[in-house]
Amino acid sequence: MSPAPREAVIALVDCASFYASCERVFDPRLEDRPVVVLSNNDGCVVAMSQEAKVLGVPMGIPWFKLEPVAATQGIVARSSNYELYGSLSARVMEVIGRHAAWQEVYSIDESFISLRGTVEEVIQAGRRIREDVARCTGIPVRVGIAPTKTLAKVALLGVKRSAPLSRVGVCHFGAYSPTQRDTILASIPVTDLWGVAGRLGRRLANLNIHTAADLAAQDPGQMRRRFSVVLERTVRELRGTPCIPLEEEPRQYKDQLIYSRSFSEPVTTTPAMRQVLSIYAQQLASRLRNAGQEARVLTAWASTSPFATDQEPHSPQISAVLPVPTAEPVTIARGSLGLAELIRPGTRYVRAGVVLTDLRPAGQAETLPGLGPPGEGRNLGPTLDAVVARFGVGSVGLGYGGLGTPPSWQMRRAMLSPRATTHWDELVTVRL
């Protein structure tokens, strides 16, 4: 008998209820309890543990609606602790990466890796990854394995469906017979597939394509002509042909950058709005520069609460074409400040944002002497970043964003757990 083939396969490693799991690492009392994590300013539920899902807590429910019943159901709420989640994500990804020659970090809680071996060997490798990540970081992960990325996601759905709370957490698509595979694909709605969003799902439903099996049965060329090359790849991948390679590098160049936040307290004056916009602009400039990009078009907007009944709704917006593509903070701040002149003083605005579009790699445009942005050549962006890195967010800012009283509209995180891995003063206490 010939030895079983040692095929190259793709594993999708996914953190189970990542935000809630992070909250549990330093607070074991939360284990087995329903945990929900709230959005910026403790607005609504953006993540929850499996126990909370079982209770039927709807994703996105505003906290003020859930709060009255939370205590009686034993639900624990936490503000979003982005510092902690980012830190633990980096640790999880590093430990996963040790198990594979190739790794693509797909999101804060998902990573594709390549593995090679017989079905049994690869399943064993998946179990080792689970054990290693849980021991080293405290975060539970699940592993879906298949010949293609799309099927690896299908295998992962299998893990989640079969026993969400159990300790079994590895599924290899190749471990099933062809008949069983067809049954699995027929059980998966097409909109659960990787890269098939809601609108595309509705268009497919019109063609009587409802499940992954329906889609796999389509002619790939026809899917490309009717829809896109992306959907053609999905069809081929469902049939077991790898079409979407592992991306080693993080996807570098994005099409747009957005910085938008709800305020903890409404902003009602032009000076306060200027302060908001200056700070947002500084944040965006920093992100843009870190991505090695420049922006040409800027849009800034603000809005009132859709729930407020005692005032006229107002959502002013401005767009500006910047003089040259730039990541320079002064230019971006100036571009966005025009919005502050459009607000109606006294009206309560609850949210604002700045969006940069028409992005391109930095350093491509030539500037005539004297026509460049005011901060250009003075290294302003890197200097601001260096000061912020050393002394913390809010230690230095542009113009309106810089001095004076700390803004009252900053993020509310009333139920924030300690930022235990990034802040020396917030280390978790252990009992002696």
Binding site: P28, V105, C136
Partner: protein
């Protein structure tokens, strides 16, 4: 990601070799004797927490482990990649709390022992009942509080 690192490493090495040829041998004639000794300053994290991804820092409160050299207010380095063994100082989960004790695995029982006569040991019914959160490798004790 690994391949990226390898590439970065290879490029870094190539750069070093080039630099050495240009600075040391070919142009200057004699290599500077000090340049072979160029190295980075000691970084405490390299020595105290070699496994960054699996190491957490916590702050200790209480008095039950003075015999092990752990005092109230010390910071502890916890390396979760280490498999707990008899004799390790560990952080165990007791009633949902993270608790520091010495792990003693004996023939007929498992004990989480205190290292201060004023505090009791805690008997664990069996190894399977024990949840170890991590192994404490280092205690940082401040001897002159300057601020």
């Amino acid at each position: 990601m690994l391949a990226t690192e390898v590439r970065a490493l290879a490029e870094g090495l190539g750069e070093q070799l080039r630099t050495r040829v240009n600075d040391g041998v070919v142009e200057a004639g004699f290599p500077s004797p000090s340049q072979d000794y160029t190295t980075a300053e000691i970084d405490l994290t390299d020595h105290l927490m070699p496994n960054r991804a699996s190491t957490y820092l916590v702050r200790a409160r209480g008095h039950s482990m003075t015999g092990a050299g752990i005092w109230d207010g010390d910071e502890l380095v916890v390396d979760r990649s280490i498999r707990p063994q008899h004799g390790h100082v560990v952080i165990a989960v007791l009633d949902g709390e993270l608790t520091v004790k010495r792990l003693r695995i004996e023939a007929d029982r498992v004990v989480l022992s205190s290292e201060n006569p004023a505090y009791p040991d805690i008997a664990v019914p069996s190894l399977s009942d024990l949840r170890v959160w991590g192994v404490v490798t280092v205690a940082l004790h401040h001897v002159s509080r300057t601020s």
